[in-house]
């Protein structure tokens, strides 16, 4: 049975305090977005009015060949203008990318109480934090997102602190990517 969120507080407790997150909210059987999640119009992005970026992805394998200067030029132009670009043939095995998405799904599929041990304030490590939205205690409108955030400088730190589901194939982080992979899993 769907829990009733008859006050903003009960919703907040369920989603934030008890670690159910937006995922738990959706699985509780809601049929519409609770008031607390409705963004003011100026914060919304109207996908129909925006156009898709048509810049071609940059082929990183050419960094080591005759076209290096050209590729570096493409990277520099993209970095200085939009600040965003896509790369292909980046040397990170595609199978590894898939395994990262699997790892994320494995973590978020855990029961709320298993995820909640990583909530801010109770997490066994300051480097690992599970949460929802961005700063829910301060936000008027909440973001439709759950996350787990893990920082590290060395592999040992990560192996010690991270949830087992996320440790999967750790060598990937240090060798191929080196820094800050931000994994984005949606399920719409």
């Amino acid at each position: 049975m769907a829990p009733s969120f008859n006050s903003s507080n009960s919703l907040y407790d369920f989603v934030v305090r008890d670690g159910n997150g937006v995922k738990g909210l959706v699985e509780s059987g809601i049929s519409e977005v609770p008031e607390r999640y409705i963004q003011p119009p100026r914060e919304r992005i109207n996908g129909h009015d925006s156009r898709a970026c048509d810049a071609p992805a940059i082929d990183l394998s050419k960094m080591n060949g005759a076209e290096r200067e050209k590729v570096v030029g493409e990277i520099a132009r993209a970095a200085e203008s939009l600040g965003f670009f896509q790369v292909v043939n980046h040397g990170v095995p595609l199978q590894l990318l898939e395994s990262l998405k699997d790892a994320a799904h494995a973590f978020f599929s855990l029961p709320a109480e298993k995820k909640a041990v990583y909530c801010s304030g109770v997490s066994p490590s300051p480097r690992v934090k599970y949460g929802t939205s961005f700063v829910p205690e301060k936000e008027k409108a909440l973001e439709w997102k759950d996350y787990i955030s893990m920082t590290f400088s060395t592999e040992e730190e990560a192996l010690q602190d991270w949830p087992d589901q996320c440790k999967y194939d750790f060598s990937f982080y240090s060798s191929s990517l080196f820094v800050s992979p931000l994994i984005n899993i949606s399920n719409i």
Binding site: V22, K23, V26, S31, E32, V33, I38, Q39, E43, R44, G47, S50, R51, A52, C53, A57, L60, M63, V72, G73, A76, A79, L82, G83, F84, Q86, V87, V88, H90, G91, L94, L97, K101, A103, F108, E143, W144, K145, D146, Y147, I148, S149, M150, T151, F152, S153, C166, Y173, L177, F178, V179, S180, P181, L182, I183, N184, I185, S186, N187, I188
Partner: protein, 108 residues
Amino acid sequence: MVREIVEALIGKLGVSLKDSKMEGLLGMKMVNMNYYPACPNPEVTVGVGRHSDMGAITVLLQDGIGGLYVKVDQQNDADKAEWLEIPPIPGALVINIGDTLQVWYPRI
């Protein structure tokens, strides 16, 4: 890969960074896994609000759903801001220049 991109950008300025400086720029790493459940009214919500990333570089792995938008830099007021969608390309990674590199870059 990240080091290669950053070195290429810095090399373009005609300088090279000492290892210790590079470590200062890239040594601290953060992995975020974001989960956006199916939303019954996606038109009134946001998964992540407008923001810039504070690190040196973000490597983003999208799934096939999409929904990543980038604000096009312009002088006009914010209400007229143009947003470009970065469509997911299978096997590709999205690179985002973060605040740290943006601030560092012209000063290196």
